[in-house]
């Protein structure tokens, strides 16, 4: 099934920036929720980065929860047929290992970089911040290395 065209999807995603600012007073971004969930799961940690009141950031968990619900509605209910978003080959031991390593890299990398495609690429670049342009270029460098150099080693091009 074909996706909605980019010129519909992109502008709608871009509207998240003013909507969150005006209706919630929040800066668009979601990868901070990984830190909040990690802090929630480690209540007695000695790690200072995770030793804070994550409840004050609860709005990010609500954003994440909303995304889960919206994706369910969009793909399972209001859809001619559900679209699979991961190839069959990931439903294997090797595939699960690849996702686990990838997830670790995403959690670690977004926290180290201070944002993801939402916080840096959309929010940061919309507000014309050079840091976010640099971050986005680095996201792409990482993606190109994985796609062109590392993944071909495992899935034979």
């Amino acid at each position: 099934m074909k996706p909605w065209p980019w010129w519909v999807v992109g502008p709608l995603l871009g509207l998240m920036v003013p909507m969150l600012l005006v209706f919630a007073g929040k800066n668009f971004g979601i990868s901070g929720s990984f830190r909040d969930f990690a802090a929630m799961c480690a209540p007695r940690t000695k790690i200072s980065y995770l030793n804070y009141d994550w409840r004050k950031n609860a709005w990010k968990m609500f954003l994440a929860g909303g995304v889960v619900i919206g994706a369910f509605i969009g793909n399972q209910i209001l859809s001619y047929e559900p679209v699979p978003f991961l190839p069959e080959m990931y439903y294997s031991v090797g595939g699960v290992i690849a996702l686990a390593i990838g997830g670790l890299l995403i959690g670690f990398g977004t926290r180290y970089a201070g944002g993801c495609t939402s916080g840096h690429s959309i929010m940061g670049m919309s507000s014309l911040q050079a840091t976010s342009l640099i971050a986005t270029i680095c996201f792409f460098i990482g993606g190109l290395i994985m796609t062109w150099i590392i993944m071909p080693l495992f899935i034979g091009g």
């Binding site: 996706p3 995603l13 920036v17 003013p18 919630a24 007073g25 980065y49 954003l63 909303g66 509605i73």
Partner: protein, 153 residues
């Protein structure tokens, strides 16, 4: 709104019930658009990194344009939040983490076919295997916290 929209730090985060409900509704919209645009698809992410499709470039590019124009309009019209507070945008800090962390995240983005919001969206869409990606991302944030004092900044 102040003369400058960009603030160095935001006031302390708070989450009231009213704000959380509004954010939840916006999150539903966000997730819905993400799956309809297949921004959460491994195939689309691969097509982007293989330069086989313009779709993702168009999505991200037009999102930034609309976001930027929106901010200009908000600033011109001197709009505040519906709770009457000034709009503030956090200034992102540039350091070694921006580059090293950015590249590390990019590696994960390509192999999982998901950046952070799409991980949540993949799970909701029925690609339940993405739970593995999500739990690992929590662990990645934990490991970052553990290593943080020793990482270059």
């Amino acid at each position: 709104m102040q003369k400058e929209l960009t603030a160095v730090t935001l006031p302390e985060e708070t989450s009231s019930a009213a704000v959380n409900i509004r954010v939840l509704i916006m999150g539903i919209f966000f997730g819905f658009v993400l799956v309809k645009g297949q921004v959460v698809s491994w195939y689309q992410i691969q097509a982007m990194f293989r330069f086989e499709s313009f779709h993702m470039y168009g999505v991200i590019g037009s999102a930034v344009v609309v976001g930027a124009i929106s901010l200009i309009i908000l600033r011109r019209l001197n709009i505040s939040t519906i709770d009457g507070r000034a709009l503030m945008i956090k200034q992102k800090k540039l350091d070694k983490g921006t580059v090293i962390g950015g590249i590390i995240f990019g590696l994960g983005w390509a192999v999982t076919g998901a950046c952070p919001a799409p991980i949540y969206a993949q799970i909701g869409s029925g690609t339940w295997l993405a739970v593995v990606t999500l739990l690992a991302a929590f662990a990645g944030a934990y490991i970052y916290g553990y290593l943080r004092p020793r990482l270059p900044t």
